[in-house]
């Protein structure tokens, strides 16, 4: 590689769009991902991604922008999940086997039919693995606005979400409508998954949602810092992924860039693995009697 950044990187319109949309997606996913992990709803995030795949494929089949497909399917799925309680552990096995399998099967049908109609195989790839370099400029404001709304909703609910994650009963006793908060949060999660689906594909959106958050949880102790680190980690992975994908145009096979999603997912994984290099955050000393109970050198000295 002759340059850190290949020539023409920042003068390319699609690249600038990708960097902008990528930033919105990374920050939204990073912040919402922290709450997803805190609430133990990674599974819900994954389910939404599967169902969003169906929505994106359906949108491709009928010739609508895929983001709307992701979004509508995601929000409908979120409402259904809240209704039948998929996020509860007991309902998970059945839901995974039956509903999510069916959703992906339906996506396969839609993509097949859509490919027959338009005779392009590219669409199947963009639904499943993202399309950040081919975002039409008129979609960009919609994506930014969606991300901003989702972030704002979560910011307004932040304290209530934290209290509920400490103890739902505690929140209920203080007058919080825990169920309503859960529904609104799930809707914000659906928006976030849809955005990530646009960037790195519906199938991989969970990586951007959970990966940076999981990394941040290893590195920080306070919720606010976790959100900041998660957003920055997601942003780094996404931007470096975009740069890498642009560079890869000059890699073998020459003249064909590698998928952005590949770079982003690898970087997310690398970040998570790197976080293990940092020694475990040490717990401050315990209360005096617990220290005294230890058979340390103090006893030997006496």
């Amino acid at each position: 590689m002759h340059y850190l950044f290949e020539p023409g990187l920042f003068s390319s319109g699609p690249v600038r769009t990708a960097l902008l949309v990528g930033a919105v997606v990374a920050v939204t996913s990073g912040v919402i991902g922290v709450f997803t992990v805190l609430r133990g709803q990674s599974f819900a995030g994954h389910s939404l991604a599967d169902v969003a795949t169906t929505g994106g494929s359906g949108a491709f089949l009928v010739g609508v922008n895929q983001f709307w497909g992701f979004l509508v399917a995601g929000v409908v799925a979120a409402a259904l999940m809240e209704g039948i309680g998929v996020q509860r552990r007991r309902g998970r096995d059945v839901a995974t086997g039956v509903v999510l399998g069916a959703a992906l099967g339906l996506a396969a049908l839609f993509l097949y039919l859509g490919t027959l109609r338009t005779a392009t195989t590219g669409a199947a790839f963009t639904v499943l693995f993202g399309s950040i370099f081919v975002i039409s400029p008129d979609t960009v404001p919609v994506l930014i606005a969606s991300g901003a709304v989702a972030l704002l909703v979560v910011a307004v609910l932040a304290r209530v979400l934290l209290l509920t994650s400490v103890s739902p009963d505690l929140a209920r006793a203080r007058g919080v409508h825990v169920r309503l908060v859960g529904i609104v949060y799930l809707a914000a999660l659906a928006v976030s998954v849809s955005l990530a689906a646009v960037a790195i594909g519906a199938v991989l959106s969970t990586a951007l949602l959970i990966g940076p958050a999981a990394t941040a949880l290893r590195l920080t102790k306070s919720p606010v810092r976790a959100m900041a680190v998660s957003a920055l980690a997601g942003l780094a992975a996404t931007w470096l992924g975009i740069v890498g994908a642009y560079d890869s145009y000059y890699w073998p096979p020459h003249g064909h860039g590698w998928p952005v999603s590949f770079f982003v997912v690898v970087l997310v994984l690398a970040g998570y693995l790197l976080s293990y290099l940092r020694p475990r955050l040490r717990r401050p000393p315990r209360s005096p009697h617990e220290e005294a109970a230890e058979c340390g050198p103090e006893a030997a000295r006496v």
Binding site: L162, S165, L170
Partner: protein, 270 residues
């Protein structure tokens, strides 16, 4: 030191000095089954009361009725003389049975206590010096300052109890409800938690109402017992309520109460 009721009692001489909490003929049906029948008792300011009874007797249900989480099928709950509504909910501090927090969760003890101030509200909470000091004061009040920066999920059961008590106290409630705060604690933590609670009742005049399946750790600090068994409850001083005759009537079968070296043993009879 936290002083949840810093104003001296003389500040409101004209106010009627009624009971802080009154349960009047409470009945609860859950899933078509009568769980509690005609439970009545009251709690005065600064009084320490234990809801005692075997597992499954309805202790948690009773606490949830007081918190307004379960609608009773009959009777009423009065807090400070008025039925429970969103306004006087802040008069009650609540410590739930146990936390289900992963050790990896980025929530420090100080974060949990801070949520006690306004965790139920929408919007942002900007950090301020005043908030920080209130949180540290609350943690110090229950002897939990040493682990203010530790993740709550990593704390031991007794340490989590202290953090939750600080969380409940930071909003300066008049009544503290605790659901089985002594469950799964080692003997030492148990004694320390009881001492913290006893001090709150005596020195700060907070009424403490806690549930426990064993009354012995509480004998030194408890003013009153609400003994729950078989869907019914008997309330009064431990010496009067926990007797062979009283519990036999409550359980509906023979029960022997044995007092041994200052400890109370409840034994099922023939």
């Amino acid at each position: 030191m936290i002083t949840p009721q810093s104003s001296p009692p003389a500040a409101a001489p004209h106010a009627p000095r009624g009971d802080l909490l009154t349960l009047d003929g409470i009945g609860v049906r859950l899933g078509g089954r009568q769980v509690l029948c005609d439970v009545s008792f009251s709690l005065a300011k600064g009084e320490f009361t234990g809801i005692i009874g075997p597992n499954g007797a309805g202790k948690t249900t009773l606490l949830r009725v007081i918190l307004g989480l379960i609608e009773p099928s009959g009777g009423r709950v009065l807090v400070d003389g008025t039925p429970l509504h969103n306004k006087n909910k802040s008069a009650i501090g609540y410590v739930p049975q146990k936390l289900v927090i992963d050790p990896d969760m980025p929530l420090r003890a100080r974060d949990v206590v801070s949520l006690g101030l306004d965790g139920h509200k929408l919007g942002f909470a900007f950090p301020s010096r005043q908030r920080r000091e209130l949180v540290l004061e609350a943690l110090a009040g229950v002897g939990a300052l040493a682990y203010a920066d530790a993740r709550v999920g990593e704390l031991s059961g007794g340490e989590q109890q202290r953090v939750l008590i600080a969380h409940a106290l930071i909003s300066r409630p008049k009544l503290l409800l605790l659901d089985e705060p002594l469950a799964n604690l080692d003997l030492r933590s148990e004694q320390e938690i009881v001492a913290v609670l006893g001090k709150l009742a005596r020195e700060h005049e907070i009424s403490v109402l806690l549930s426990a399946h064993d009354m012995n750790p509480l004998l030194g600090v408890m003013d009153k017992v609400v003994y729950v068994a078989n869907g019914h409850a008997a309330a009064g001083p431990a010496d009067e309520v926990v007797t062979s005759e009283g519990l036999t009537e409550l359980y509906g079968h023979t029960v022997d109460v044995v007092r041994l070296h200052g400890r109370v043993l409840v034994v099922a009879g023939e």
